[in-house]
Symmetry: C2
Subunit: 258 residues, 2 copies
DNA sequence: GAGTAAATTTCACTTAGTGGAAACGAGGGC
DNA sequence: GCCCTCGTTTCCACTAAGTGAAATTTACTC
Protein backbone atom coordinates (compact mmCIF):
# COMPACT_ATOMS: atom_id res chain seq x y z
CA UNK A 1 0.00 0.00 0.00
CA UNK A 2 2.13 2.79 1.33
CA UNK A 3 5.05 1.14 -0.41
CA UNK A 4 3.51 1.38 -3.83
CA UNK A 5 4.71 4.44 -5.67
CA UNK A 6 7.90 6.44 -5.68
CA UNK A 7 9.48 4.73 -2.70
CA UNK A 8 8.24 7.08 -0.03
CA UNK A 9 10.54 5.37 2.48
CA UNK A 10 12.78 8.30 1.71
CA UNK A 11 15.92 8.01 3.79
CA UNK A 12 18.12 4.98 3.47
CA UNK A 13 16.60 1.58 3.53
CA UNK A 14 16.64 -1.29 1.17
CA UNK A 15 13.56 -1.26 -0.93
CA UNK A 16 13.64 -4.88 -2.08
CA UNK A 17 14.13 -6.11 1.43
CA UNK A 18 11.30 -3.93 2.66
CA UNK A 19 9.04 -5.31 -0.01
CA UNK A 20 10.02 -8.88 0.75
CA UNK A 21 9.21 -8.39 4.40
CA UNK A 22 5.93 -6.78 3.54
CA UNK A 23 5.06 -9.85 1.49
CA UNK A 24 5.79 -12.11 4.45
CA UNK A 25 3.69 -9.88 6.65
CA UNK A 26 0.76 -10.26 4.31
CA UNK A 27 0.44 -13.78 5.68
CA UNK A 28 -1.20 -13.92 9.08
CA UNK A 29 -3.70 -16.06 10.95
CA UNK A 30 -6.75 -16.19 8.71
CA UNK A 31 -4.70 -15.51 5.58
CA UNK A 32 -3.09 -18.91 5.20
CA UNK A 33 -2.29 -19.01 1.53
CA UNK A 34 -1.82 -16.24 -0.99
CA UNK A 35 -1.15 -16.24 -4.71
CA UNK A 36 1.07 -13.71 -6.42
CA UNK A 37 -1.96 -11.82 -7.56
CA UNK A 38 -3.45 -11.44 -4.12
CA UNK A 39 -0.09 -10.45 -2.73
CA UNK A 40 0.26 -7.79 -5.39
CA UNK A 41 -3.17 -6.50 -4.50
CA UNK A 42 -2.58 -6.41 -0.76
CA UNK A 43 0.86 -4.87 -0.92
CA UNK A 44 0.27 -2.58 -3.88
CA UNK A 45 3.36 -3.93 -5.60
CA UNK A 46 3.55 -4.62 -9.35
CA UNK A 47 2.82 -8.22 -10.21
CA UNK A 48 6.12 -8.94 -11.86
CA UNK A 49 7.97 -7.71 -8.81
CA UNK A 50 5.92 -9.89 -6.53
CA UNK A 51 6.59 -12.85 -8.77
CA UNK A 52 10.34 -12.37 -8.45
CA UNK A 53 10.32 -11.71 -4.74
CA UNK A 54 8.18 -14.74 -3.91
CA UNK A 55 10.58 -16.82 -5.95
CA UNK A 56 13.44 -15.60 -3.79
CA UNK A 57 11.46 -16.17 -0.61
CA UNK A 58 10.78 -19.75 -1.69
CA UNK A 59 14.43 -20.32 -2.57
CA UNK A 60 15.46 -19.12 0.86
CA UNK A 61 12.95 -21.21 2.73
CA UNK A 62 10.58 -18.50 3.91
CA UNK A 63 7.68 -19.56 1.72
CA UNK A 64 6.42 -22.93 0.52
CA UNK A 65 4.92 -23.17 -2.90
CA UNK A 66 1.56 -24.93 -3.10
CA UNK A 67 1.86 -25.87 -6.74
CA UNK A 68 -1.61 -27.33 -7.08
CA UNK A 69 -3.24 -23.98 -6.34
CA UNK A 70 -0.44 -21.68 -7.59
CA UNK A 71 -0.18 -20.17 -4.18
CA UNK A 72 2.23 -19.73 -1.29
CA UNK A 73 2.29 -20.41 2.41
CA UNK A 74 4.73 -19.46 5.17
CA UNK A 75 7.42 -22.12 5.47
CA UNK A 76 8.94 -23.93 8.41
CA UNK A 77 12.03 -21.74 8.53
CA UNK A 78 9.82 -18.88 9.67
CA UNK A 79 8.62 -20.97 12.55
CA UNK A 80 12.14 -21.77 13.65
CA UNK A 81 13.02 -18.08 13.53
CA UNK A 82 10.05 -17.52 15.78
CA UNK A 83 11.39 -20.11 18.15
CA UNK A 84 14.74 -18.33 18.14
CA UNK A 85 12.98 -15.14 19.22
CA UNK A 86 11.71 -16.84 22.33
CA UNK A 87 14.96 -18.62 23.10
CA UNK A 88 16.88 -15.40 22.68
CA UNK A 89 14.68 -13.21 24.84
CA UNK A 90 16.39 -12.56 28.15
CA UNK A 91 13.17 -11.14 29.53
CA UNK A 92 11.22 -14.29 28.77
CA UNK A 93 14.04 -16.41 30.10
CA UNK A 94 13.71 -14.73 33.49
CA UNK A 95 9.96 -14.18 33.61
CA UNK A 96 8.79 -17.43 32.04
CA UNK A 97 9.26 -19.60 35.13
CA UNK A 98 7.91 -16.90 37.41
CA UNK A 99 4.84 -16.55 35.26
CA UNK A 100 4.14 -20.25 35.23
CA UNK A 101 4.40 -20.44 39.01
CA UNK A 102 2.21 -17.39 39.45
CA UNK A 103 -0.44 -18.77 37.11
CA UNK A 104 -0.69 -21.94 39.16
CA UNK A 105 -0.63 -20.07 42.44
CA UNK A 106 -3.32 -17.54 41.58
CA UNK A 107 -5.28 -19.80 39.26
CA UNK A 108 -5.47 -17.32 36.43
CA UNK A 109 -3.98 -16.65 33.01
CA UNK A 110 -0.67 -14.82 32.89
CA UNK A 111 0.75 -13.26 29.75
CA UNK A 112 3.78 -11.34 28.55
CA UNK A 113 3.67 -9.31 25.37
CA UNK A 114 5.32 -6.58 23.40
CA UNK A 115 4.36 -4.60 20.33
CA UNK A 116 4.59 -5.11 16.62
CA UNK A 117 3.32 -1.97 14.91
CA UNK A 118 -0.18 -1.45 16.29
CA UNK A 119 -0.64 -4.97 17.59
CA UNK A 120 0.48 -6.65 20.78
CA UNK A 121 2.33 -9.95 20.36
CA UNK A 122 2.35 -12.52 23.14
CA UNK A 123 5.82 -13.76 23.99
CA UNK A 124 4.10 -16.14 26.32
CA UNK A 125 0.50 -16.61 27.32
CA UNK A 126 -0.15 -19.14 30.03
CA UNK A 127 -3.76 -20.24 30.01
CA UNK A 128 -4.77 -21.49 33.40
CA UNK A 129 -7.27 -24.31 33.52
CA UNK A 130 -8.39 -26.28 36.56
CA UNK A 131 -7.69 -29.43 34.57
CA UNK A 132 -3.92 -29.54 34.21
CA UNK A 133 -4.20 -31.37 30.89
CA UNK A 134 -5.94 -28.39 29.36
CA UNK A 135 -3.44 -25.77 30.46
CA UNK A 136 -1.55 -24.40 27.53
CA UNK A 137 1.08 -21.96 26.45
CA UNK A 138 0.65 -19.88 23.35
CA UNK A 139 3.21 -17.57 21.80
CA UNK A 140 3.12 -15.24 18.84
CA UNK A 141 -0.59 -14.55 19.00
CA UNK A 142 -1.62 -10.99 18.22
CA UNK A 143 -4.24 -8.83 19.86
CA UNK A 144 -5.13 -5.24 18.96
CA UNK A 145 -3.25 -2.71 21.03
CA UNK A 146 -5.95 -0.12 21.56
CA UNK A 147 -8.62 -2.55 22.72
CA UNK A 148 -6.73 -4.63 25.25
CA UNK A 149 -5.38 -4.03 28.72
CA UNK A 150 -2.07 -5.36 27.48
CA UNK A 151 -1.89 -2.80 24.72
CA UNK A 152 -2.95 0.10 26.87
CA UNK A 153 -0.45 -0.80 29.56
CA UNK A 154 2.16 -0.91 26.82
CA UNK A 155 1.12 2.53 25.65
CA UNK A 156 1.42 3.83 29.19
CA UNK A 157 5.01 2.60 29.23
CA UNK A 158 6.00 4.43 26.05
CA UNK A 159 7.43 7.91 25.62
CA UNK A 160 4.96 10.60 24.62
CA UNK A 161 6.23 10.78 21.06
CA UNK A 162 5.94 7.09 20.38
CA UNK A 163 2.51 6.91 21.98
CA UNK A 164 1.18 9.77 19.89
CA UNK A 165 2.36 8.13 16.70
CA UNK A 166 0.37 5.01 17.60
CA UNK A 167 -2.74 6.90 18.59
CA UNK A 168 -2.87 8.26 15.06
CA UNK A 169 -2.94 4.71 13.74
CA UNK A 170 -5.87 3.82 15.95
CA UNK A 171 -7.80 6.73 14.58
CA UNK A 172 -7.28 5.39 11.08
CA UNK A 173 -8.07 1.83 11.99
CA UNK A 174 -11.25 2.49 13.90
CA UNK A 175 -12.62 5.44 12.01
CA UNK A 176 -16.11 5.13 13.47
CA UNK A 177 -15.90 4.91 17.25
CA UNK A 178 -12.74 6.98 17.39
CA UNK A 179 -13.73 9.59 19.90
CA UNK A 180 -14.97 7.21 22.58
CA UNK A 181 -12.15 4.82 21.88
CA UNK A 182 -9.36 7.32 22.33
CA UNK A 183 -11.00 8.52 25.53
CA UNK A 184 -11.11 4.93 26.77
CA UNK A 185 -7.45 4.45 25.96
CA UNK A 186 -6.50 7.65 27.75
CA UNK A 187 -8.51 6.56 30.75
CA UNK A 188 -6.68 3.25 30.89
CA UNK A 189 -3.34 5.01 30.63
CA UNK A 190 -4.26 7.29 33.55
CA UNK A 191 -5.32 4.21 35.45
CA UNK A 192 -1.87 2.71 34.93
CA UNK A 193 -0.26 5.93 36.12
CA UNK A 194 -2.45 6.07 39.22
CA UNK A 195 -2.85 2.45 40.30
CA UNK A 196 -0.08 0.70 38.42
CA UNK A 197 -2.47 -1.31 36.27
CA UNK A 198 -5.45 -1.02 33.98
CA UNK A 199 -8.40 -3.37 33.67
CA UNK A 200 -10.25 -3.99 30.42
CA UNK A 201 -12.91 -6.45 29.46
CA UNK A 202 -12.25 -6.77 25.77
CA UNK A 203 -13.91 -10.10 25.20
CA UNK A 204 -17.21 -10.83 26.91
CA UNK A 205 -16.78 -12.77 30.12
CA UNK A 206 -13.04 -12.15 30.27
CA UNK A 207 -11.50 -9.65 32.64
CA UNK A 208 -7.91 -8.73 31.87
CA UNK A 209 -5.56 -6.56 33.89
CA UNK A 210 -2.18 -5.36 32.65
CA UNK A 211 0.89 -3.39 33.65
CA UNK A 212 3.93 -2.17 31.69
CA UNK A 213 7.49 -3.41 32.17
CA UNK A 214 9.97 -0.76 31.15
CA UNK A 215 13.62 -1.72 31.01
CA UNK A 216 16.26 0.68 29.80
CA UNK A 217 17.57 -0.23 26.36
CA UNK A 218 14.91 -2.85 25.64
CA UNK A 219 11.47 -2.60 24.06
CA UNK A 220 8.62 -1.95 26.46
CA UNK A 221 6.82 -5.10 27.58
CA UNK A 222 3.48 -5.61 29.24
CA UNK A 223 2.40 -8.25 31.73
CA UNK A 224 -1.19 -9.28 32.12
CA UNK A 225 -3.39 -11.47 34.23
CA UNK A 226 -6.87 -12.53 33.23
CA UNK A 227 -9.80 -14.69 34.26
CA UNK A 228 -12.63 -16.15 32.21
CA UNK A 229 -16.27 -16.93 32.83
CA UNK A 230 -16.67 -14.35 35.53
CA UNK A 231 -18.64 -11.18 35.93
CA UNK A 232 -16.09 -8.39 35.38
CA UNK A 233 -16.50 -6.02 38.30
CA UNK A 234 -14.49 -3.08 39.56
CA UNK A 235 -13.64 -4.94 42.74
CA UNK A 236 -12.38 -8.01 40.92
CA UNK A 237 -10.23 -5.79 38.72
CA UNK A 238 -8.73 -4.21 41.80
CA UNK A 239 -8.02 -7.57 43.38
CA UNK A 240 -6.26 -8.97 40.32
CA UNK A 241 -4.58 -5.61 39.88
CA UNK A 242 -3.03 -5.88 43.30
CA UNK A 243 -1.72 -9.37 42.52
CA UNK A 244 -0.38 -8.11 39.24
CA UNK A 245 1.38 -5.07 40.66
CA UNK A 246 3.03 -7.21 43.32
CA UNK A 247 4.04 -9.77 40.73
CA UNK A 248 5.38 -7.15 38.37
CA UNK A 249 7.52 -5.77 41.17
CA UNK A 250 9.03 -9.18 41.73
CA UNK A 251 9.60 -9.50 38.00
CA UNK A 252 11.40 -6.18 37.80
CA UNK A 253 13.56 -7.28 40.72
CA UNK A 254 14.44 -10.52 38.99
CA UNK A 255 15.26 -8.67 35.78
CA UNK A 256 17.58 -6.14 37.32
CA UNK A 257 19.10 -8.67 39.69
CA UNK A 258 21.90 -10.83 38.28
CA UNK B 1 29.43 -17.16 3.28
CA UNK B 2 28.38 -18.55 -0.07
CA UNK B 3 26.68 -15.25 -0.72
CA UNK B 4 29.83 -13.25 -0.51
CA UNK B 5 31.33 -12.62 -3.93
CA UNK B 6 29.89 -12.17 -7.39
CA UNK B 7 26.32 -13.11 -6.53
CA UNK B 8 26.58 -16.79 -7.27
CA UNK B 9 22.79 -17.05 -6.97
CA UNK B 10 22.98 -16.75 -10.72
CA UNK B 11 19.45 -16.99 -12.13
CA UNK B 12 16.84 -14.55 -11.03
CA UNK B 13 16.41 -13.78 -7.41
CA UNK B 14 16.56 -10.61 -5.45
CA UNK B 15 19.98 -10.20 -3.94
CA UNK B 16 19.11 -7.69 -1.25
CA UNK B 17 16.21 -9.77 -0.09
CA UNK B 18 18.37 -12.87 -0.02
CA UNK B 19 20.94 -11.07 2.06
CA UNK B 20 18.36 -9.72 4.43
CA UNK B 21 16.98 -13.19 5.01
CA UNK B 22 20.45 -14.56 5.51
CA UNK B 23 20.98 -11.94 8.20
CA UNK B 24 17.82 -13.04 9.99
CA UNK B 25 18.93 -16.63 9.71
CA UNK B 26 22.20 -15.80 11.43
CA UNK B 27 20.17 -15.51 14.62
CA UNK B 28 19.27 -18.84 16.13
CA UNK B 29 19.04 -20.45 19.56
CA UNK B 30 22.43 -19.84 21.15
CA UNK B 31 23.10 -16.78 18.99
CA UNK B 32 20.78 -14.35 20.72
CA UNK B 33 22.34 -11.04 19.85
CA UNK B 34 24.62 -10.02 17.02
CA UNK B 35 26.31 -6.75 16.15
CA UNK B 36 26.79 -5.58 12.60
CA UNK B 37 30.39 -6.72 12.71
CA UNK B 38 29.56 -10.25 13.72
CA UNK B 39 26.80 -10.42 11.15
CA UNK B 40 29.21 -9.29 8.46
CA UNK B 41 31.62 -11.99 9.54
CA UNK B 42 29.06 -14.77 9.63
CA UNK B 43 27.38 -13.90 6.37
CA UNK B 44 30.46 -12.76 4.48
CA UNK B 45 28.75 -9.51 3.54
CA UNK B 46 30.51 -6.13 3.49
CA UNK B 47 30.03 -4.18 6.69
CA UNK B 48 28.38 -1.20 5.14
CA UNK B 49 25.85 -3.41 3.44
CA UNK B 50 25.04 -5.13 6.70
CA UNK B 51 24.66 -1.78 8.37
CA UNK B 52 22.07 -0.70 5.85
CA UNK B 53 20.17 -3.95 5.81
CA UNK B 54 19.93 -4.20 9.58
CA UNK B 55 18.57 -0.68 9.59
CA UNK B 56 15.82 -1.78 7.23
CA UNK B 57 15.12 -4.88 9.26
CA UNK B 58 14.74 -2.75 12.37
CA UNK B 59 12.47 -0.29 10.60
CA UNK B 60 10.25 -3.14 9.48
CA UNK B 61 10.07 -4.76 12.87
CA UNK B 62 12.14 -7.86 12.22
CA UNK B 63 15.01 -6.84 14.50
CA UNK B 64 15.20 -4.95 17.77
CA UNK B 65 18.14 -2.71 18.40
CA UNK B 66 19.87 -3.18 21.73
CA UNK B 67 21.39 0.28 21.81
CA UNK B 68 23.39 -0.27 24.97
CA UNK B 69 25.51 -2.97 23.35
CA UNK B 70 25.21 -1.82 19.70
CA UNK B 71 23.69 -5.08 18.80
CA UNK B 72 20.51 -6.60 17.42
CA UNK B 73 18.03 -9.25 18.42
CA UNK B 74 15.10 -10.87 16.59
CA UNK B 75 11.94 -8.85 17.20
CA UNK B 76 8.42 -9.80 18.16
CA UNK B 77 7.10 -9.57 14.61
CA UNK B 78 9.17 -12.63 13.75
CA UNK B 79 7.47 -14.53 16.52
CA UNK B 80 4.04 -13.62 15.25
CA UNK B 81 5.00 -14.74 11.76
CA UNK B 82 6.01 -18.03 13.34
CA UNK B 83 2.62 -18.24 14.95
CA UNK B 84 1.02 -17.62 11.57
CA UNK B 85 2.94 -20.60 10.18
CA UNK B 86 1.30 -22.89 12.70
CA UNK B 87 -2.15 -21.39 12.34
CA UNK B 88 -1.92 -21.65 8.57
CA UNK B 89 -0.73 -25.23 8.38
CA UNK B 90 -3.61 -27.45 7.29
CA UNK B 91 -1.57 -30.51 8.22
CA UNK B 92 -1.06 -29.34 11.78
CA UNK B 93 -4.68 -28.32 12.00
CA UNK B 94 -5.74 -31.89 11.30
CA UNK B 95 -2.97 -33.78 13.06
CA UNK B 96 -2.57 -31.60 16.16
CA UNK B 97 -5.61 -32.93 18.03
CA UNK B 98 -4.88 -36.50 16.96
CA UNK B 99 -1.31 -36.18 18.19
CA UNK B 100 -2.36 -34.84 21.56
CA UNK B 101 -4.82 -37.68 22.05
CA UNK B 102 -2.29 -40.24 20.94
CA UNK B 103 0.37 -38.88 23.29
CA UNK B 104 -1.98 -39.25 26.24
CA UNK B 105 -3.17 -42.66 25.15
CA UNK B 106 0.27 -44.18 24.58
CA UNK B 107 2.04 -42.16 27.23
CA UNK B 108 4.85 -41.04 24.98
CA UNK B 109 6.09 -37.98 23.11
CA UNK B 110 4.62 -37.31 19.70
CA UNK B 111 6.11 -34.88 17.20
CA UNK B 112 5.48 -33.51 13.74
CA UNK B 113 8.25 -31.89 11.76
CA UNK B 114 9.38 -30.80 8.35
CA UNK B 115 12.67 -29.61 6.93
CA UNK B 116 14.46 -26.31 6.72
CA UNK B 117 17.63 -26.84 4.71
CA UNK B 118 19.49 -29.61 6.52
CA UNK B 119 17.60 -29.32 9.80
CA UNK B 120 14.26 -30.68 10.89
CA UNK B 121 11.86 -28.16 12.40
CA UNK B 122 9.15 -29.26 14.80
CA UNK B 123 5.73 -27.97 13.88
CA UNK B 124 4.57 -29.51 17.10
CA UNK B 125 6.32 -31.58 19.71
CA UNK B 126 4.13 -32.91 22.47
CA UNK B 127 6.20 -33.94 25.47
CA UNK B 128 4.44 -36.52 27.51
CA UNK B 129 4.93 -36.43 31.24
CA UNK B 130 3.12 -38.48 33.88
CA UNK B 131 2.48 -35.24 35.72
CA UNK B 132 0.02 -33.33 33.55
CA UNK B 133 1.41 -30.01 34.74
CA UNK B 134 4.77 -30.81 33.18
CA UNK B 135 3.46 -31.76 29.77
CA UNK B 136 4.40 -29.22 27.18
CA UNK B 137 4.20 -28.34 23.54
CA UNK B 138 7.17 -26.94 21.73
CA UNK B 139 7.26 -25.64 18.17
CA UNK B 140 10.02 -24.32 15.97
CA UNK B 141 12.80 -26.27 17.61
CA UNK B 142 15.43 -27.61 15.24
CA UNK B 143 17.21 -30.95 15.27
CA UNK B 144 19.83 -32.15 12.80
CA UNK B 145 18.36 -34.12 9.94
CA UNK B 146 20.99 -36.77 9.54
CA UNK B 147 21.17 -37.77 13.19
CA UNK B 148 17.53 -38.11 14.08
CA UNK B 149 14.80 -40.60 13.27
CA UNK B 150 12.66 -37.66 12.23
CA UNK B 151 15.22 -36.48 9.72
CA UNK B 152 15.89 -39.91 8.29
CA UNK B 153 12.20 -40.64 7.91
CA UNK B 154 11.92 -37.32 6.10
CA UNK B 155 14.77 -38.31 3.80
CA UNK B 156 13.03 -41.59 3.06
CA UNK B 157 9.99 -39.62 1.96
CA UNK B 158 11.92 -37.44 -0.51
CA UNK B 159 12.58 -38.01 -4.18
CA UNK B 160 16.02 -39.40 -5.02
CA UNK B 161 17.31 -36.11 -6.37
CA UNK B 162 16.37 -34.08 -3.34
CA UNK B 163 17.75 -36.70 -0.99
CA UNK B 164 21.10 -36.81 -2.76
CA UNK B 165 21.46 -33.07 -2.57
CA UNK B 166 21.04 -33.23 1.19
CA UNK B 167 23.41 -36.15 1.64
CA UNK B 168 26.13 -33.96 0.16
CA UNK B 169 25.47 -31.37 2.86
CA UNK B 170 25.86 -33.96 5.60
CA UNK B 171 29.22 -34.94 4.21
CA UNK B 172 30.34 -31.34 4.49
CA UNK B 173 28.89 -30.83 7.93
CA UNK B 174 30.26 -33.96 9.51
CA UNK B 175 33.56 -34.30 7.68
CA UNK B 176 35.00 -36.76 10.20
CA UNK B 177 32.55 -39.60 10.75
CA UNK B 178 31.13 -39.32 7.26
CA UNK B 179 31.43 -42.88 6.10
CA UNK B 180 29.76 -44.51 9.10
CA UNK B 181 27.18 -41.75 9.26
CA UNK B 182 26.02 -42.05 5.68
CA UNK B 183 25.80 -45.80 6.10
CA UNK B 184 23.66 -45.28 9.20
CA UNK B 185 21.39 -42.92 7.33
CA UNK B 186 21.00 -45.36 4.46
CA UNK B 187 20.21 -48.12 6.89
CA UNK B 188 17.46 -46.04 8.50
CA UNK B 189 16.02 -45.23 5.10
CA UNK B 190 15.91 -48.93 4.21
CA UNK B 191 14.26 -49.55 7.54
CA UNK B 192 11.53 -47.06 6.65
CA UNK B 193 11.04 -48.75 3.28
CA UNK B 194 10.81 -52.19 4.87
CA UNK B 195 8.97 -51.66 8.15
CA UNK B 196 7.41 -48.25 7.65
CA UNK B 197 9.48 -46.63 10.39
CA UNK B 198 13.04 -46.14 11.59
CA UNK B 199 14.28 -46.08 15.17
CA UNK B 200 17.23 -43.98 16.31
CA UNK B 201 18.64 -43.23 19.72
CA UNK B 202 20.20 -39.87 19.10
CA UNK B 203 20.32 -38.64 22.65
CA UNK B 204 21.32 -41.06 25.41
CA UNK B 205 18.34 -42.61 27.12
CA UNK B 206 15.90 -41.46 24.45
CA UNK B 207 14.47 -43.81 21.86
CA UNK B 208 12.80 -42.12 18.92
CA UNK B 209 10.87 -43.71 16.07
CA UNK B 210 9.72 -41.85 12.98
CA UNK B 211 7.80 -42.24 9.73
CA UNK B 212 7.32 -39.94 6.74
CA UNK B 213 4.05 -38.33 5.70
CA UNK B 214 4.01 -37.62 2.00
CA UNK B 215 1.14 -35.59 0.60
CA UNK B 216 0.99 -34.57 -3.02
CA UNK B 217 1.71 -30.88 -3.50
CA UNK B 218 2.90 -30.27 0.06
CA UNK B 219 6.34 -30.53 1.64
CA UNK B 220 7.21 -33.91 3.12
CA UNK B 221 6.50 -34.17 6.84
CA UNK B 222 7.66 -36.67 9.43
CA UNK B 223 5.86 -37.97 12.48
CA UNK B 224 7.72 -39.31 15.46
CA UNK B 225 7.12 -40.97 18.79
CA UNK B 226 9.70 -41.14 21.54
CA UNK B 227 10.25 -42.24 25.11
CA UNK B 228 12.80 -41.11 27.66
CA UNK B 229 14.66 -42.76 30.51
CA UNK B 230 14.45 -46.20 29.04
CA UNK B 231 16.93 -48.72 27.70
CA UNK B 232 16.60 -48.42 23.90
CA UNK B 233 16.17 -51.99 22.64
CA UNK B 234 15.25 -53.43 19.28
CA UNK B 235 12.02 -54.84 20.72
CA UNK B 236 10.93 -51.53 22.17
CA UNK B 237 11.64 -49.84 18.85
CA UNK B 238 9.44 -52.39 17.11
CA UNK B 239 6.63 -51.91 19.59
CA UNK B 240 6.61 -48.14 19.28
CA UNK B 241 7.09 -48.54 15.54
CA UNK B 242 3.88 -50.52 15.31
CA UNK B 243 1.98 -47.84 17.23
CA UNK B 244 3.47 -45.21 14.99
CA UNK B 245 2.68 -46.93 11.73
CA UNK B 246 -0.91 -47.45 12.83
CA UNK B 247 -1.17 -43.85 13.95
CA UNK B 248 0.37 -42.54 10.74
CA UNK B 249 -2.19 -44.51 8.76
CA UNK B 250 -4.98 -42.84 10.70
CA UNK B 251 -3.35 -39.49 10.12
CA UNK B 252 -3.12 -40.02 6.38
CA UNK B 253 -6.78 -40.98 6.37
CA UNK B 254 -7.72 -37.83 8.25
CA UNK B 255 -5.66 -35.71 5.86
CA UNK B 256 -7.11 -37.08 2.66
CA UNK B 257 -10.65 -37.17 4.04
CA UNK B 258 -12.57 -33.90 4.08
C1' DG C 1 41.77 13.64 27.68
C1' DA C 2 44.02 11.57 23.85
C1' DG C 3 44.20 7.26 21.30
C1' DT C 4 42.13 3.21 19.39
C1' DA C 5 38.65 0.38 17.47
C1' DA C 6 34.33 -0.04 15.44
C1' DA C 7 30.28 1.43 13.34
C1' DT C 8 28.02 4.56 10.12
C1' DT C 9 27.60 7.80 6.38
C1' DT C 10 29.28 9.69 2.13
C1' DC C 11 30.00 9.40 -2.70
C1' DA C 12 30.72 8.13 -7.46
C1' DC C 13 29.88 3.97 -10.07
C1' DT C 14 27.44 0.64 -12.28
C1' DT C 15 25.08 -3.37 -11.53
C1' DA C 16 21.02 -5.18 -10.21
C1' DG C 17 16.18 -4.44 -9.85
C1' DT C 18 12.25 -2.48 -12.12
C1' DG C 19 7.72 -2.50 -14.54
C1' DG C 20 5.40 -2.54 -19.01
C1' DA C 21 4.53 -5.68 -22.64
C1' DA C 22 4.74 -10.10 -24.67
C1' DA C 23 4.49 -15.05 -24.07
C1' DC C 24 2.87 -18.74 -21.70
C1' DG C 25 -0.27 -21.85 -19.29
C1' DA C 26 -4.26 -23.29 -16.71
C1' DG C 27 -9.23 -23.63 -16.16
C1' DG C 28 -13.88 -23.03 -17.72
C1' DG C 29 -17.58 -22.86 -20.92
C1' DC C 30 -19.72 -24.22 -25.01
C1' DG D 1 -12.48 -31.69 -27.27
C1' DC D 2 -11.39 -27.10 -28.60
C1' DC D 3 -11.22 -22.30 -27.90
C1' DC D 4 -11.32 -18.41 -25.11
C1' DT D 5 -10.15 -15.84 -21.03
C1' DC D 6 -7.81 -14.80 -16.93
C1' DG D 7 -3.72 -14.90 -14.29
C1' DT D 8 1.12 -15.71 -14.00
C1' DT D 9 5.78 -15.66 -15.58
C1' DT D 10 9.49 -14.20 -18.66
C1' DC D 11 11.73 -10.74 -21.52
C1' DC D 12 13.95 -6.48 -22.20
C1' DA D 13 15.55 -1.74 -22.25
C1' DC D 14 16.02 1.82 -18.73
C1' DT D 15 17.70 3.91 -14.93
C1' DA D 16 17.27 4.44 -10.19
C1' DA D 17 18.58 1.94 -6.42
C1' DG D 18 22.06 -0.53 -4.12
C1' DT D 19 26.91 -1.15 -3.66
C1' DG D 20 31.61 -1.05 -1.31
C1' DA D 21 35.93 1.59 -0.43
C1' DA D 22 37.17 5.40 2.00
C1' DA D 23 36.16 9.17 5.16
C1' DT D 24 33.84 10.47 9.19
C1' DT D 25 31.78 10.04 13.34
C1' DT D 26 30.92 7.65 17.55
C1' DA D 27 31.85 4.98 21.53
C1' DC D 28 35.14 2.87 24.60
C1' DT D 29 39.95 2.34 26.86
C1' DC D 30 43.93 3.50 29.23
Amino acid sequence: MALARQYAGGANGNRSLERGIEILRAFRPGVDTLGNGEIAERTGLPRSTVSRLTKTLVAFGMLDEVRTERTYRLAAAVLSLGHAVRMGSPVLKVLGPLMRAESTRRRLNVGLATADRAMMVYLESIRYNPRPTLRSIVAGQQVPMELTSLGRAYLAGLSDGERDRLLVKFRRRNAAATKTLIAEVQKSIRSVRRDGYCAVSWQPGVLAVATPIVIQGLPVYALNMSVQDIEPTEALGAEIGSYLVAFAARCKGALSGP
